[in-house]
């Protein structure tokens, strides 16, 4: 993970994608494809800038912005368009550097402005980042569970005995889990609150139904066992899916409602539909 590995790759002969790499010269010329890989060693543009500062052998506060900008841009220009995705953050930094450079080249304004000195700001960010980088190393040096010490794993008592009360699982649980994996912005999945009907589960379940069946009415998507709260959560789930453009509304047909099995739960559902026309919301999978 250290930039020196460019040099340490020196004595190897290897092939990165289509480009044979017999040796990497010290002046850091790297073939374009290999460059993308080389860049991946850095945790980002700030890390890369730190490397350049260090390479120029200067104190961070004395950072010579002009040569460093030149060097930075020279490296980044090596990136071919295929790797723009990787380059996004690097390009953003490039534009910051160019802005700073431009500012430095322009004559100083006669009246001092309120704006902060962008160079000072950049140095501050570099310092803050360098601090985090050092401390992340220190964190990594701590004795860590599952790297330096290990939990003891044991099996539960015999399956037969424990299984006596085991429920059977539906295979749809598997599919729903895959949907969740793909659909959930997972950092929300872990919010701690007790939902009678978890939204994430409804989203996954409705996605599965719609993606396999194409079109369904809102009513058909409900899990009748979940009661009123289930209707509300399902509605929010549908809105979320519409927002993500996974699901579209086909029609609000009038009076289809009565076609739907009008047994036990309809009262509850009916009570929620806002007006007497009892129009049906029909949804379609768009993905």
């Amino acid at each position: 993970m250290k930039p020196v590995s460019v040099d340490s790759a020196h004595d190897m002969s290897l092939r990165i994608y289509q480009t044979p790499v017999h040796h990497l010269p010290d002046d850091l010329y790297v073939p374009p494809q290999a460059f993308a890989i080389w860049l991946e060693q850095f945790a980002g543009p700030l890390d890369f800038l730190l490397y350049l500062v260090k390479k120029n052998n200067v104190d961070l506060t004395q950072m010579p912005i002009l040569p460093i900008t030149e060097q930075y841009l020279a490296y980044i220009s090596e990136l071919d368009t295929e790797h723009f995705e990787l380059a996004g953050d690097y390009l953003l930094m490039a534009s910051t550097l160019i802005a700073i450079k431009t500012e430095l080249l322009l004559p100083a304004p006669e009246t001092p402005t309120d704006e902060r000195d962008p160079k000072a700001e950049l140095i501050e960010r570099l310092e803050a980042y360098a601090q985090i980088k050092v401390v992340s190393q220190r964190l990594d040096d701590l004795v860590r569970l599952e790297r330096d010490v290990f939990l003891a794993m044991v099996s539960m008592p015999s399956q037969d005995i424990m299984n006596a009360e085991l429920p059977n699982y539906s295979a749809n649980l598997l599919i729903d889990s895959l949907f969740k994996m793909q659909l959930q912005p997972d950092y929300q999945m872990h919010t701690i609150k007790i939902d009678a009907v978890p939204l994430a589960d409804r989203i996954a379940n409705i996605s599965r139904q719609l993606s396999t069946q194409g079109t369904r009415s809102f009513y058909e998507l409900l899990d009748k066992a979940q009661g009123k709260i289930g209707v509300v959560v399902s509605f929010v789930a549908v809105l979320e899916l519409i927002k993500r453009q996974l699901v579209g509304v086909i029609s609000l047909e009038a009076d289809r409602y009565t076609d739907v099995d009008s047994s036990d739960n309809t009262n509850e559902i009916g009570a929620l539909s806002s007006d007497n026309e009892a129009s049906t919301l029909t949804l379609q999978w768009l993905a």
Binding site: E146, F150, L151, A152, M153, V154, S155, M156, P157, S158, Q159, I161, M162, E165, L166, P167, N168, Y169, S170, A171, N172, L173, L174, I175, S177, L178, F179, K180, M181, Q182, L183, M189, S207, R208, S211, T212, R244, Q245, L246, A287
Partner: protein
Amino acid sequence: MTDTYNSKQRHEKQASPSAALLSLTDGQLQHLENISKHIEVLLHASEAPLTAQALKKHLSLSTKELQQALTLLQQRLDAGVLHLHETASGYRLQIADDYSRLIQRIFPQRQERLSQALLETLSVIAYKQPVTRGDIEQVRGVTLSSNILRQLFDKGWIIEKGYKDTLGRPALLHTTPQFLDAFGLSHLDELPPLPNMDAIRALP
């Protein structure tokens, strides 16, 4: 608490040469004691059950050493709550059956609830089998915790069979007939059709 404990008896019968241990010198016994501790460590650390073969290979043991050390291990475990369980796929350490009620009482959800991480891992194995650990990590985008694999092995839902012919020859994971049973399937073909994940993933 223990009398009906058949696999223990089975082990003791097979290992009845515990008398044979009596004829060993202190030095030899100490050596075996160390081996038995190493075996205990590996059984605690392994995701999948370990075969006699694997134990012998990892610790460079003869068959006799292994048997003697396993006998010692079982003797030591008898003082606690674990026992050495031999399954078709190898040895593992297991909480004695007598404690199943205690566990059920205190962690009732432990049996029923399958965590999202466990389900995702299982789904990837079920749909893409055979897969390596690395494949699963690739699909899920996170490192796989040993604990999850261990749980899947414990439930008997997955097994290791064969190796992928790449660097490190990682073991290949498959689902088992017990997995099909637990999910009410009679054949892998009956798994619900996989939605088009690429389409979903590609969406903004």
